[in-house]
């Protein structure tokens, strides 16, 4: 090591000066995120294992934009009579998540969740722009981008609340699912709920950072590292959503 430990303050570290060249707090955030990644992997892998152990529903394709009310009447009951939705089959996601606000009863799979994905990706970009502004010590720019990130977070949570309401209204719960195996609904609520709780915590952290920045807390401190640490958390939430989107909606 280049520097010889001489003062009592340096001796506290014991293992040389910050071997990873990141601050203590940032390293801890990385380790926390690693453990959180394992939690989410466990949930998604359990979802995969259960899906592999279930019979897939018969393939039933509906053209994009079909008026479901007009063609099928009560859509879920018709599908149950046809034997597409049975309590023992794993439902195809495109027949479950096919709603869009202001387009009730129209078959529009994947559109709403794509909008949610774009919202989250964009809020990730504004977050990283806030971090970058912090590295240049530009207080007002950090404020601007943090505010955009917070708005994005709330927009995402709003979309998720709407989707949950829709799914619950149709009769889904942790123990029941009109579309197929009850476990499908249980996994949907647990995984997107756990992710949504992370988004909510991220929004709260972002608001705290935003308020601290308004009071010039980071200017006084001489660095904006707290923005970077909360940024890491926020990007992780986006990263998890990439895989939730892939495994719950696409496949």
């Amino acid at each position: 090591m280049a520097q010889v430990v001489t003062t009592s303050k340096l001796e506290k570290w014991g293992g040389g000066n910050s071997p990873f060249r990141v601050s203590w707090g940032k390293l801890m955030m990385w380790i926390f995120l690693l453990s959180d990644a394992f939690t989410f992997s466990a949930l998604l892998i359990a979802y995969g294992a259960l899906r592999f152990s279930s019979v897939a529903a018969p393939v039933f394709k509906i053209p994009f934009g079909t008026d479901l009310h007009h063609k099928f009447g009560h859509f879920i009951e018709t599908m149950q009579h046809k034997g597409i939705f049975t309590p023992n089959t794993w439902p195809a996601p495109d027949l479950v998540f096919n709603h869009l606000p202001f387009a009730h009863g129209i078959h529009l799979p994947l559109i709403f969740v794509s909008i949610m994905t774009f919202i989250l990706i964009f809020s990730s970009v504004t977050m990283v722009l806030a971090v970058e502004a912090g590295q240049r010590m530009q207080k007002s720019e950090v404020s601007k981008y943090m505010l955009m990130t917070i708005v994005g977070g709330f927009a995402f949570l709003g979309c998720q609340a709407w989707e949950w309401t829709q799914f619950i209204t149709e009769g889904a719960s942790l123990t029941s699912n009109p579309f197929g195996v009850p476990d499908f609904a249980a996994f949907f609520f647990v995984v997107t709920g756990f992710h949504g709780f992370h988004v909510f915590s991220g929004v709260v952290l972002n608001i705290i950072i935003y308020l601290m920045n308004l009071r010039s807390a980071f200017d006084k401190r001489g660095h904006y590292e707290m923005v970077e640490k909360v940024g890491l958390y926020w990007h992780f939430v986006d990263l998890v959503w990439v895989f939730v989107f892939t495994f719950f909606y696409l496949i």
């Binding site: 003062t7 690693l34 294992a49 990706i121 970058e132 660095h223 895989f243």
Partner: protein, 120 residues
């Protein structure tokens, strides 16, 4: 590397408090960020386009493989650029990435279990 790292940001040894030490922040500019944003947006759009391909053109297993490859690509750009990991020291990169590789084993193992339950 070690020289630079230990002397960076410390003028006086007495100022150095390990618990609150923060390396000097340096911006890498916004060009890379916007480039990665367009890549992420593009990959998501390709996902959506592939999703609506009829089964006769692209079978589900191929679609699923493409979705997973694109998912990993998106993860690479988010972690590398947005979370800044590609600019960190190799020690830190490996500390984070190597444990993640255990998950691959976990996936293979548990999906096989799922198949076994199905056959049982």
């Amino acid at each position: 590397m070690a020289e630079k790292m230990t002397t960076q940001n410390i003028q006086d040894e007495n100022d150095f408090i390990p618990e609150t030490w923060v390396p000097k922040a340096e911006s890498h500019g916004t060009k890379d960020i916007w480039q990665k944003f367009w890549i992420l947006l593009g990959l998501t759009l390709i996902d959506i386009i592939i999703y609506f391909f009829p089964e006769s053109v692209l079978a589900m297993p191929i679609k699923a493989a493409l979705f997973i490859v694109f998912g990993i690509a998106k993860a690479y750009y988010i972690v590398g650029t947005f979370m800044h990991l590609k600019h960190e020291r190799v020690d830190l990169i490996m500390s984070i990435l190597l444990p993640i590789f255990f998950i691959i084993f976990f996936i293979i193992w548990m999906l096989q279990e799922g198949n076994a339950w199905f056959s049982a």
